[in-house]
Symmetry: C2
Subunit: 197 residues, 2 copies
DNA sequence: GCCTTTCTGTATCGATCAACACAGAAAGAG
DNA sequence: CTCTTTCTGTGTTGATCGATACAGAAAGGC
């Protein structure tokens, strides 16, 4: 069956990107349909036809964030010969990504989303799952360092991964408050002083 | 001039406390007048007569939070013979305050407020000022340890205070996600490993 | 050409938002 | 008692929310 009917008059991917930026900056509830339509350059019937609803648009925007923005930070956990180096690279990537930069809002969309009960249950659950997955990435990397002997056998991996995750989250909030990259870099360097050994 | 007129039929302080809990849990935007009136046990004309508007009610609720909840954590910075002990007491207080407990929502109202642009400018500015004041409390305490010689003269106080503030903020977010006190305690203990020396 | 299909623009839906008008109720002052 | 003052309850305001109905426009298939 060939495609037929009037073709869509806008770039769906570009519209999704624009919606992501609005949700990232304002959150789910504060981002009104007017805000979204204006940023996406379309009218609401086109939005609903292409994305379903405000809620499903948010979920897709969050997935888009996790695919395009997230990896620039979290993939750094695979970049490093040692666990310590990997974690430091991860935090340093956060230093350069979290501050406001051009059209990109400050902070992390996933970290700041759903911390207040302003979203639907589906959104809260989805965002929480992403955070669980992120924590798991840290846990996995640190566990690798445990089995290779880089970390002493007595190391509490759960505790250490939660700590570095918390450092990332704290940096995300301070970035929202306008912290400069050098401020965040200081946090990173101090956090690395807590590395075991 | 003696007081006259029909006396208020509700406890203003108790109503403010109830409003604080609603704002704390849901945030400014998601907390509707209906939510607030129900929790406070009054009708909206009484609310407006006693508190002005939703915005001024929020600001007063935030001040109430800063006077009643905040000190249980931040006053610990004065409790300790050394700076290290004070900071550890501060974080341990956060461990016991941040998780959900009875009617108290999880997390820190000030930390979670105004991270998304869902509030009025006045609220955003007020909350940011509170966070600035908190950071200053840490900076002051650490500087004391610098002048007493507990911390080496080369210590970067700005960096260290931002670090421990970030740890607190990260703990606040993880508490929102349901982290248990023992999870937060692990973060605290790891963070203390970063103490200079 | 015409038919079918899909998208776009206008205009609007009911619901909910924060805020308030107004009248009655509850106190003290005289 | 009456008068004044202040608070409470009912009901409603205009604005905005997310979401659509509907008609016309723009494409392919025939």
């Amino acid at each position: 069956m060939a495609i037929t009917g009037r073709p869509r008059g806008f770039d769906r991917g570009a519209a999704l990107e624009a919606a992501m930026l609005v949700f990232w900056r304002k959150g789910f509830l504060a981002a009104s349909m007017n805000d979204l339509c204006d940023a996406m350059g379309i009218r609401s019937p086109s939005l609903y036809a292409a994305f379903g609803s405000k809620e499903t648009l948010y979920l897709e925007a969050a997935r888009h964030y996790a695919k395009t923005i997230g990896p620039s930070v979290w993939d750094q956990l695979k970049n490093g010969t040692t666990g310590r180096e990997s974690v430091e690279n991860f935090l340093l990537a956060a230093v350069s990504v979290l501050p406001e930069c051009g059209k990109m809002p400050a902070g992390c969309m996933v970290t700041l989303a759903g911390v207040s009960e302003e979203c639907t249950d589906a959104i809260l659950q989805a965002m929480k799952q992403v955070r669980i997955d992120c924590l798991e990435l840290l846990r996995t990397r640190l566990n690798d360092s445990l089995v290779t002997g880089e970390l002493p056998p007595s190391t509490n991996i759960e505790r250490l991964s939660r700590f570095y995750f918390g450092v990332y989250q704290g940096m995300a909030i301070q970035a929202r408050d306008g912290a400069a990259p050098e401020d965040l870099k200081g946090i990173t360097e101090t956090a690395m002083d807590a590395w075991p050994g």
